[in-house]
Amino acid sequence: MSVTLFQAILLSIWGLITGTDRMSEAFFWFRPIIVATGAGIILGDPVHGAMVGGLTELAFAGLTPAGGAIPPDPVIAGMMGAIFACGAGVNPAAAVGLALPFSVLMQYVLVLLYTGYAFFMKPLDRMIDKCDVKGIIRLNIFGLFLAGVVYMVFTFLASYLMQDAISALIRIIPEWFMNGLEVAGGVMPALGFGMLLTTMFKVKYTPFIVIGFLAATYGGFNNILPVALIGAAFAMYNYFFKKEDTVSAVMENGGGEDEGI
């Protein structure tokens, strides 16, 4: 594995930036597709960075913090995926699987952080008592920065200090194991889509899933955008015609009564 000290420092700074964004969720730089592409650029191999980022992004698309529980960490998943794919030359699909233990570890670090930040609430209440507006703002800036630093340290440890251990590990991994990781990388998006469906699926939406599935299977499109447009057409139809139906139903009822007389 060949991550130079200079690259490791750049990766750590990238970890600081994206880790801060993970905490604030402001610009979505914390998403694997952005993290891994950025890390790929730093490691001199943006193409493989983008590939591993794309695969990880799909797996993580449904793992939203909106559900409540914290999912495996997207920043570290993208970062380590890129390090495996660009730094150690692992096939991108297998790199997704290799990055997972790190991302699960970071998930637990984040749980600790969210628990620890509860201790910030006492000073917050004291500042409120003193009407210390600047202090309240500083406390939150400090919180963001602290989270970023945790990501920075984690990235440095994993990318530089542990790289001998990591490359030794990759050398002893048997072929069936790498193949299994690749297959898992291809299956992982199913979890993402399953998660999305638990929050948005109702039986009445089944036709649209079927239509989307068939359009993508037999449509021969080379990306998902045409399918999205088909979905948008149905969505607009539903939105606009529903109103018209309500109006005409009222009118028909009115007409019927007239005839009855």
Partner: protein
């Protein structure tokens, strides 16, 4: 005298978009975004109450409790509540509005941004990235900058809405939310077909020389993408059964490794 109460300027609202980065600054299990929300509101409450420390303290206290909204829709709520604070509406009204609105607004925001925009962006940009194109990540980057900038629209819209009827908005958002779900479900159907890959390698030998691949002869004949659909349905079912995502991720790894070891995949 009354006009002097109107202290929130356009510039303040624009600035609040950047302060909104702090919303999850000290996110914690006790109050979720409560502390960050307080930091977002504090400078403007200070401006509104001026030297009246007693009122300011009460307002800050009100705004430091549990809070959990979606990041974009929070701006709408902030604009709305600031206009009410500025008009010196009663504390009870404002508190009730805040507590009763952050949940529904989060619902609308999540269904638009997480459950509709996210799968489309992930699907479109990842399929480009998977072919080694940097255009995918670039589009992703630009779209989410635009999403951040949409906070300008929402904070101003909330401020303008002031005390005017929220219920009207409620009706419209319900229709919008249905439309968003239709779009989202169609896209997910397409993503299942194109982005999950799972192929069985097992072959059945008919004679010594000829063998039939189960994948080609059976699954692909029923419908391409049959196994991905099955896997997605299984995942959906397990998540409904409250199996945690982390367990499922580890489960997928273990099962795929085991299948690979015995040569099925």
């Amino acid at each position: 005298m009354k006009e002097s109460n109107y202290v929130i300027t356009k510039k303040d609202l624009n600035q609040s978009v950047w302060r909104s980065i702090l919303l999850q600054g000290t996110f914690n299990y006790e109050r979720y975004q409560g502390s960050g929300w307080c930091a977002m509101m504090a400078p403007y409450l200070e401006k509104i109450y001026g030297d009246d420390k007693e009122e300011l303290r009460e307002a800050l206290k009100d705004n430091s409790g549990f809070f959990n909204c979606q990041l974009i829709m929070t701006m709408f709520l902030q604009g709305l509540l600031l206009s009410l604070y500025e008009k010196k509406q009663s504390r009870d009204l404002i508190n009730n509005l805040r507590v009763s609105l952050f949940g529904p607004l989060a619902g609308i925001g999540d269904s638009l941004f997480w459950f509709t925009l996210m799968p489309i962006m992930a699907g479109v940009c990842s399929s480009m990235a998977n072919e080694g194109s940097l255009v995918g990540p670039a589009i992703y980057f630009i779209v989410y900058i635009a999403v951040f900038l949409s906070k300008y629209f929402f904070v101003h819209a909330g401020y303008k809405m002031g005390a005017t009827s929220i219920s009207k908005l409620g009706e419209k958002t319900k229709d919008l939310s249905t439309a968003a779900s239709i779009l989202g479900c169609t896209v997910i159907g397409g993503l299942i077909a194109t982005l999950i890959t799972f192929n069985i390698k097992t072959t059945i030998s008919i004679t010594d020389a000829a063998s039939v691949s189960i994948q080609e002869a059976f699954f692909d004949q029923i419908i391409p993408g049959f196994l991905p659909v099955l896997i997605t349905v299984l995942m959906y079912y397990l998540i409904k059964k409250k199996v945690s995502p982390t367990v499922l991720i580890v489960g997928i790894l273990v099962v795929c490794l085991a299948l690979s070891l015995v040569g099925i995949v």
